[in-house]
Symmetry: C2
Subunit: 236 residues, 2 copies
DNA sequence: CAGTGGTCTAGACCACTAT
DNA sequence: TAGTGGTCTAGACCACTGG
């Protein structure tokens, strides 16, 4: 792993372990350079990572400060939780409803940029958190990239397996969000009534090369659907 | 404006004007360095901006490619649209329902990090897009930062005025999302039935100094609530 | 005006891709 | 193995904050 990534991790761990709060000041650049024995740019790059991740904010002429969000029970929509995840550790589980090799519908083929007669893995499962139903997930994998899946893998973290087991490198993703009314079949799986609200998240995941390898539709129980995002951007 | 920002803007305009598509290749770093007559790091920084904005992706050993998302009718949740916004130009409007100086409830005071007897501006309005009702917005401003608002300002873009008129510099924001059932009063304003689905977005906006100055709750008509986000991150 | 973060450079070297 | 992007350095200079 590269230096600036290690440094970013160390700083984040430091913040976590010492339970620093919003506004707490970190050592100045000069100090961090000396402590990690690297050049200014390397520290800057590490802090930039943390800034994009919503862990710190930097104020020119003033210092580097810890950033926190205010609410519990909200999950990071972009699941870049880092270290916190391990600390909180919810009880999670999933029930596999379907797992098969099949052919894609047009919508799926379009999103995965493949042909209608190419093979895909189709996975359908319900995910639980703290013994409560969290979501219904339908996921489609380009089989020429994700070459093998079985029930065991699919009842754990699929993405962990894909990265560590298959060595696939994930580059980026497009995420689409909307709210709507539950259809009857979805409601049944989530133990809710049809017509009740639902929070829909559809995603396309790409390799570092830019090739899409996964499309997924996730329907959240609206009572569990609490997400947060931390932004830095340029505000129009 | 700094060099890397100008360069990023120019590259984005180039992509937009030439209507480049997903996967189209941009000139190599060497070429861009020569064309803009700057050092490698400056180009790298510009491309990093565009990468974070979801405009391009870079593949080591291969090149720099254009990134697009697939769906129309979805708004960027983080409204960093840049140039596209001006091209599409929807007809937008807003109806101001309330505008007053008042005192914050506890929840608001907490989010704005102020006292219960500090002054705030409270703004309530309905926003329209293409003559359709888009959302109901309730917004609270720390009055010691946002010192003045009137009906005219509030029926246009408040944030534009705050930045350009008051010279306030926005640093970052926390965004909270969830789905739920419309309350009766919300439903009335959105011309929907109560109990129908709603897409809720709550945000806290901070100055570059880290001080919060605005808290807002936005209730979207679920039929209009289609958002996208483009991510790059490290996937756990 | 001292202290602190941000921009920019020139150049060395590394890691991955494509052929 | 040539071509391309990524990391890292050392140092100059700039821009903002806060006493």
């Amino acid at each position: 792993m590269v230096k600036y990534q290690q440094i970013a991790d160390e700083i984040e761990m430091y913040i976590e372990e010492n339970a620093l709060q919003q506004g707490d000041k970190l050592p100045v650049l000069e100090g961090l350079m000396a402590h990690f024995n690297v050049s200014k740019s390397t520290i800057t790059k590490a802090l930039e990572l943390l800034e994009n991740k919503g862990v710190v904010f930097q104020v020119r002429g003033s210092g580097i400060f810890v950033r926190r969000h205010r609410r519990n029970g909200y999950r990071s929509l972009l699941s870049n939780q880092g270290f916190k995840k391990e600390l909180e550790d919810f009880h999670t589980a999933s029930k596999v409803i379907e797992l098969e090799v099949t052919k894609p519908a047009k919508e799926i083929a379009d999103h995965l940029n493949i042909e209608l007669d190419d093979d895909i893995y189709f996975v359908k499962r319900v995910q639980y958190i703290d013994r409560q139903i969290l979501c219904l997930e339908e996921s489609y994998f380009n089989r020429s990239i994700v070459t093998y899946l079985n029930k065991e893998i699919v009842s754990e973290s699929i993405f962990d397996y894909i990265q560590k087991g298959l060595g696939v490198k994930i580059g980026f993703s497009d995420v689409y969000l909307h709210a709507g009314k539950l259809k009857e079949e979805e409601a049944k799986q989530l133990c809710l009534e049809s017509e009740e609200p639902a929070f829909y998240v559809e995603s396309v995941f790409y390799l570092t090369s830019g090739q899409p390898f996964n499309f997924s539709k996730v329907t959240y129980n609206y009572e569990q659907s609490q997400f947060f995002i931390q932004t830095n951007g340029h505000f129009s």
